[in-house]
Symmetry: C2
Subunit: 464 residues, 2 copies
Amino acid sequence: MTESETKTEVSPVEDKPKEETAAAGAETTATANEEPPVKEMRAVVLTGFGGLKSVKIQQKPQPTPAEDEVLIRVRATGLNFPDLMARQGALDNLPKAPFIMGFELAGEVEAVGEKVEGFTVGQRVCALSDMKAWAELTAVPAKHCYPLPDGISYQDAAAVLVNYTVAHSLLFDVANIRKGQTVLILSIGGGVGQALAQLCKTVKDVTVIGIASKAKHEQLNDVCHHLLERESYTVTQVKKVAEHGVDVVLDCSCGEDVSRGYSLLKPMGRYVLYGTSFFVSGETKNLFSFAKSWWQVDRINPIKLYDDNKSISGFNMRHLLFQQGQHAYIAEKVATVFDLFKSSKISPVVDSTWAFEDIAEAMQKMHDRKNVGKLLLDPAKEPKPRPVEPEKPVKVGRKESRKDKRNKEKKESEEKSKKEADEKKAAATDKKSDDAKEANDKDASKEEAKKENGDAEEKEKSKD
Amino acid sequence: MTESETKTEVSPVEDKPKEETAAAGAETTATANEEPPVKEMRAVVLTGFGGLKSVKIQQKPQPTPAEDEVLIRVRATGLNFPDLMARQGALDNLPKAPFIMGFELAGEVEAVGEKVEGFTVGQRVCALSDMKAWAELTAVPAKHCYPLPDGISYQDAAAVLVNYTVAHSLLFDVANIRKGQTVLILSIGGGVGQALAQLCKTVKDVTVIGIASKAKHEQLNDVCHHLLERESYTVTQVKKVAEHGVDVVLDCSCGEDVSRGYSLLKPMGRYVLYGTSFFVSGETKNLFSFAKSWWQVDRINPIKLYDDNKSISGFNMRHLLFQQGQHAYIAEKVATVFDLFKSSKISPVVDSTWAFEDIAEAMQKMHDRKNVGKLLLDPAKEPKPRPVEPEKPVKVGRKESRKDKRNKEKKESEEKSKKEADEKKAAATDKKSDDAKEANDKDASKEEAKKENGDAEEKEKSKD
């Protein structure tokens, strides 16, 4: 019972009526101690690096803010591609599992630490958090917390926060986009892609060429000037609409498009990399593809950039904020994008909003690049009805079922939780070895990378 | 007699009194034909890739402008580091030697081609030319010719043209410099370096850290905020004045500083490469150092840029204008820098002005990084007096000696030319084999690079 052991280690959990827990299919376990009860909350917890099954809804102790922190009651949180990478252990500097997932949130200030200035209880805010956002409550350093303007919903705020902050930085600080330029957005269908397209419209005479899966084209027709199919686009097609090439390429994949994108740049053009989603090729981290991608990416000799009059840039907001300490930069950027929202220059596209319990389905949709715009989680949202014979990999759990629905759902839930309890029992014996295997896989991958790759070693070092 | 053969192949030269030619020590050879006489001019000619001895002053037929060209009487021309690289054959796409050298000039329009609009005879202009600038007259495409504002001398114009156009592009279009940033200029003593430092002052609160040889420090004290010694500067020294690193590194060397410069960048910082002077390590191209440099330059994995939030950019004005056809961009940039000159925002620093005949000494000064600011050539300037026993490698030659000095200099010259004629005779027998050797060296270097280096091959291709 690794999981409940871990939980009780973290903090004693509240004692609560068994039938209520069972009714919601929760996994919380009552502890035997008599300490004053610790309040709990629901959270999306990664129990170990891996596939969708590793993501579980659990009861966790409510956090209390440290002296420099703000405690926020979460009303909306965003799902971003790095969440999928975090699940697979494909991001650096992740906490040891289990941990609460999620990078961004919007909500109300519930409490403030002693030394916090500028935030008050009840204030509407949004925040960036290196994990911990997907919970009913989260405590974040005040420096990563930003006031929300009046009139923006929590959903819109969560849809704006990461996507538009990243997009604005990319266009105006990294790519340095200017009047009359042509921009190629290699993934225009996602949240950042649409934010980029909208922000391009704030600059005079900018032409946007977007690449998206054919399946998304119908929904994206008005987003950009020229929409090409991911599955089949060619240099010739791009050159047909941008004869001399493009001024900026924006790439969140770092996959097979790098060489093609680079070759499409005009003189003085910039290739901007803001993600490595290409590495995530299956539900779980594919070590072979991971290593292959690192090697396959064409290394650039700076002399080639000099000969070609081109630039290559990288932008990684998670590193910028949480490792490189650029708090002031991001805070200013966040204020800028909310100003743009207030003046109706931007309008976030929300693909869909999900209950915590439906996180697996939401993650799968993002993984399959089927979302057009932002995927949000709403802690208060009702989960989708589960089939009687559940096939979904996520185990659902709620502290409090909504009373008015409880009776109706009770029978169904009881059946489900019985089935799950059986599954759990069977799984428990395998779990330890699974976890160990995952941990081994991760270490093995690191070892492999270090052994084969001097640069990777240097990279590891530079992150220390 | 390869040289004179080549010359007569180009165009028949004017028949002229032998004693005048001899008096000036010129190398022109009278031809036997009776065609109408072709007017000649003095020019700095590269007779073969190599050392200072390959640069000679020769009589060349005056050019006539093609239908899209402007013929300019040159009043001042600039010496740039790429001239040294051209001499050594270390630039791509050079014409076959012999050719007239030089990239930039200022002067008066002498004639215009039939289809040229916007330029009139007598107009003061400056121009960029891929070679051919170091002559009394040169014909350049009108699209590479720019009107000069009133009140700027030809000397100042030639000192502004390349250096400030490059510097302005670097700072405002490539590095995207902004208020409050810190800029590290790795070669602040040269022409572009000083232009960069001056242009940085047009942006509020920009801090400039400059690197220059210790010998230049006295002359550079007021140029930037912090001046460090090339011979000994350390990362710690830079961090002492820029605790968190710098926003921009500007590098025209691409040598050992690349890794150090990159490591000094702040998050969101940009490394900008605008030259490869490190390759020029001796008087003649050092093949070993050339190949070594190409390989030694750290290749960048774009994923590292993504992790680090950094950019690497290249800027090469010669490629941009003459190979990549960005005429409109450069024309706009030239107009911008002359506007800045008019409004006294910039003021070119001229190190010294030289006669054509003293080109070898000027080149050596630049090679030794002893110039502080721009080196100019003035076609009308008197050469420095030669010692009676000449040891300088350059052979001087003038079509018309200045009359008032002729008598005084005649005896000296006669002695000199007699000596030179003897030297020439002796050299003539060796010349063919020398030329062949140089050509072989160059081919061998290309072959070597191609064989050993897939990237180099790709680079060659991309330039086709």
